[in-house]
């Protein structure tokens, strides 16, 4: 359950002078014994899009249900001439299951304009909770603010590759930074989480002997995806090919844009009526899995997951990441030359 934060009014909370953030935060908690401050990670969210602070405040409100953190939101407006740095503080409180206490996560929001955009790393580093890992959610394309002094201090990097304008270019920047950091940070792509329910459903299908007997016969796949999720579909296809040990030729992989959800259908087929389908029906609460091999058929249902960004981020934070595998899958996608 979510409870009201200790400050109210502006959705970003109470505006405060940057030099007074620590004392303002202390004042936020003073005398309120029903609130417990909790923090397991430093969670920084950076965006250069207009209105991002309000949107990301809602994101943090949701993420803190599962991940107590010190949230640091930064909105940069590099194109503005007048240098300005503004800050707000607030807290997101959730009523804990026992004892009736509210467990709260602090949020500090910054708006950086003009030349102050270069103050990004300082703004982040100056407000980290000590000893806690730094999780950094970089939204959109990597800009000049993505620089070594910053990314070498990151422990986990959250991205959403579906928002990239040019995945190949962005991926190269990311890979370069990762290597330069000594493979220090783990990459957590939200798009990877979007395909998780489909990956889980496919794994469930291949738990059956019927599907596994068909594995060597399957040789083509078709993925139906929503607008803007072509790269997600390609990443999924790459994962399937990697896991099954296939080398997919262009005519063996088809991506169809249809519908509004990120992924709505996966069909893996082979000769002789051999077919495995994972389908997200409109309005359904679960994925439906159909395995058909020769005359035999099995159907299953599997968890559907969610499209909500906050839930996806929250889930992504709960799971580990395999960055070398992630890059390997992308290499295959970019190698497809599409």
């Amino acid at each position: 359950m979510t409870t009201a934060p200790p400050s109210s009014g502006c959705p970003l909370g109470q505006e405060t002078d940057v030099s007074c953030i620590d004392s303002s935060l202390r004042a936020l908690w003073a005398g309120n014994e029903a609130l417990t401050k909790a923090s397991l990670i430093n969670f920084a969210v950076y965006a250069e899009s207009p209105g991002s602070l309000e949107v990301n405040t809602s994101l943090i409100q949701a993420v803190t249900r599962d991940h107590a953190c010190r949230a640091i939101l930064i909105a940069a407006h590099p194109s503005e001439d007048e240098p300005q740095l503004k800050a707000w503080i607030t807290a997101h409180c959730q009523l804990s299951g026992t004892g009736g206490k509210s467990v709260c996560s602090e949020q500090i929001a910054f708006e950086l304009s003009g030349h102050l955009r270069d103050a990004l790393r300082n703004v982040v580093f100056a407000h980290l909770e000590s000893d806690l890992p730094l999780v950094f959610f970089w939204q959109g394309d990597f800009s000049p603010r993505w620089e070594p002094h910053l990314y070498r201090r990151i422990d986990r990097l959250v991205i959403d590759s579906t928002t990239w304008s040019d995945p190949a270019v962005q991926l190269e920047r990311l890979r370069t930074a990762w290597r330069d950091s000594g493979s220090h940070f783990v990459v957590l792509d939200v798009a990877w989480m979007r395909i998780f329910p489909f990956r889980q459903a496919l794994a469930g299908a291949f738990d059956t002997a019927l599907a596994r007997t068909s594995l060597c016969r399957l040789n083509a796949l078709r993925i139906t995806h929503g607008p803007g999720h072509r790269s997600t579909a390609a990443l999924f296809a790459s994962w399937i090919a990697y896991k099954a040990g296939w080398s997919l030729q262009p005519d063996e992989r088809v991506f169809v844009e249809d519908g509004t959800v990120p992924l709505s259908r996966l069909e893996v087929t082979g000769p002789g009526g051999c077919r495995i389908e994972v389908v997200r029906e409109e309005g359904a609460q679960f994925l439906h899995v159909h395995v058909q091999v020769d005359e035999e058929e099995i159907t299953q249902v599997s968890p559907l997951g969610t499209d909500d960004l906050a839930t996806l981020v929250s889930e992504r934070l709960s799971r580990g990441g395999n960055t070398p595998l992630y890059f390997k899958l992308w290499r295959q996608v970019t190698g497809w030359g599409e």
Binding site: T36, A38, L40, R65, D66, H67, A68, S96, G97, T98, G99, V103, R199, Q200, A201, L202, A203, G204, A205, F206, D207, T208, A209, L210, R212, T213, L215, I240, K243, A244, G245, A284, Q285, F286, Q300, V301, S302, P303, S314, S318, N322
Partner: protein, 515 residues
């Protein structure tokens, strides 16, 4: 023919962070009982909802009453609606319930087992794989013997086509050492020890598993984990209710010592006291737990029992604003009952590590709170600097909260701000609910999955159970067979137990931790 195993599924490997459950048929004996309705079916449903259950798993509900599969499915749906951790989806249930098949038979009817065998063979054939069978004894213990003998007679105690047959046995495992040995022999005559899973749901709780992680995953605790630094250990299991739901009939035959101490609390004690295992395999962990249980000092005389154990019954009182009757006035309890519903034990473990360190165990009904926890009380600092300050709360205490509000806290001294040198205990607190957010799977979910995967780490081995009875039996004998047994004490419902239990601690210059 290829089999339904997840291990050679190329799409599955990265989802596996532990042994994977193998496709099998789960046969529940006593399927119409409370345990199945309230715990087993919701556990299976939630596992399926999380995508953790093998897709081809079937559940055969074996019970005596005339019923159809549709009827038992409807009944299970009703109980799942109330009990499921993640709520109940009619759409998902519709698919899930197809796994459940009702098999009507008396427990003692050989024909019922023959037809069960045919049903299992059909299910194996439909699954197209090895005949893996997991039997769950969820019936009353009185039925175990005939179930086991009929399973053997029908040849169901072995898997088919290279598969396995395992059995899960619910507590109580006996009511004393002799009956536990008898039951264990009975099980051993039908199932090998490696295929026998004695369930103790306390071991499935996150915080119980976290004891091993805290002790052996952190470098700061283990050097202090011995008689040089630890003053004593307290293990408390308090319940703020009495004989609700007709429980008196069972409880009055068992008592707190057999119902809780012999299994749950001695299991917790063994996790606290064990030496580091060489690895995390089931037998390595259980070998070390057994050594700790074997080293528990047995009471050899009635006097020793009287000196070290307090038993009690609650009398009328008030709990959480409601009046409570005394134990002997409870429904289905003998008005002259000599069964304890409170027990406090002072135990010692005769090993190099624990020589002279008392382990105080207490468990009771109708206490002020519901709480299970282990507190490790460290020795006080030498006090060279602070010897003139009050003694209260001066020692460090590490607390494992098993339930509710699962977590770990460490009490330490801090200086009170001000000009005077004044100290107060402060608490560093880790709570599962606020640190990890996500709800933990229920203990039964974890344990069912482990049994399907063949991981017995969180199940009690035969020698663990029997060594626990070795410790418990002399106490029971002193209470019930001695000419002049130690007195049965009383305490008002809603209090923290009999005064004699407080005196047990006070004699050692200690007191029970305030919970």
């Amino acid at each position: 023919m290829s089999t339904d195993v997840t291990a050679d599924n190329p799409f599955r490997d990265e989802f596996l962070t532990r042994l994977s459950p193998e496709p099998c048929t789960l046969v529940i004996f006593g399927a119409t009982g409370d345990l199945t309705h309230k715990l087993l079916i919701p556990a299976l449903y939630n596992l399926a909802l999380d995508g953790e259950l093998p897709p081809t798993l079937k559940v055969v509900a074996f019970a005596r009453r005339e019923k159809t599969s549709d009827e038992i499915r409807a009944e299970f749906a009703g109980s799942n609606l109330k009990q499921s951790r993640q709520g109940h989806s009619s759409e998902f249930w519709a698919g899930f319930q197809e796994r459940i098949i009702y098999h009507q038979s008396e427990f003692g009817d050989a024909a019922g087992y023959a037809s069960l065998g045919r049903l299992l063979a059909e299910l194996d054939a439909a699954r197209g794989g090895a005949g893996n069978r997991l039997f769950y004894l969820a019936s009353a213990p009185d039925n175990f013997e005939e179930i086991l003998s009929h399973l053997k007679e029908a040849g169901l105690n072995e898997g088919c086509h290279g598969g396995w047959a395992r059995i899960i046995v619910e507590k109580p495992i006996g009511k004393d050492l002799a009956s536990a040995e008898r039951l264990n022999n009975m099980v051993a005559a039908v199932f090998a020890e490696k295929n026998t899973y004695r369930i103790d749901h306390y071991l499935g709780k996150e915080t119980a598993q976290n004891i091993i992680v805290t002790r052996f995953g952190n470098s700061i605790f283990e050097p202090l984990w011995n008689r040089n630094y630890i003053d004593h250990v307290q293990i408390t299991c308090a319940e703020n209710f009495g004989m609700t739901g007709g429980r008196g009939a069972y409880y009055d035959k068992a008592g707190a010592l057999r119902d809780m101490v012999q299994n749950h609390l001695l299991q917790l004690l063994s996790l606290i006291a064990m030496e580091p295992p060489t690895d995390l395999s089931a037998d390595s962990v259980r070998d070390e737990k057994v050594k700790a249980l074997r080293a528990l000092r047995k009471f050899t005389t009635v006097d020793e029992v009287a000196q070290n154990v307090v038993r009690g019954q609650y009398v009328a009182g008030s709990v959480n604003g409601r009046s409570a009757v005394g134990y002997r006035d409870e429904d289905r309890v003998n008005p002259d009952s000599q069964t304890e519903c409170y027990v406090a034990v002072r135990a010692f473990i005769d090993t190099w590590r624990w020589q002279g360190v008392p382990f105080y165990i207490r468990v009771g009904k109708q206490l002020p709170k519901k709480a299970t926890e282990i507190s490790v009380h460290f020795r006080r600092a030498p006090h060279v600097l602070f010897q003139t300050l009050p003694a209260r709360g001066r020692s460090n205490v590490l607390v494992f909260r098993i339930q509710p509000d699962e977590g770990v806290s460490l009490r330490m001294l801090g200086k009170v701000p001000g000009l005077a040198m004044r100290m107060e205990p402060v608490k560093m607190d880790f709570r599962y609910a606020t640190s990890f957010g996500k709800a933990s799977p229920f203990a039964y979910e974890r344990l069912l999955l482990d049994a399907m995967a063949g991981d017995a780490t969180l199940f009690a081995r035969r020698d663990e159970v029997e060594n626990a009875w070795h410790f418990i039996d002399p106490i029971e004998q002193a209470w019930h067979q001695a000419g002049q047994p130690p007195a049965m004490t009383t305490y008002p419902a809603g209090s923290w137990g009999p005064a004699e239990a407080d005196e047990l601690m006070e004699r050692d210059g200690r007191s029970w931790r305030r919970i």
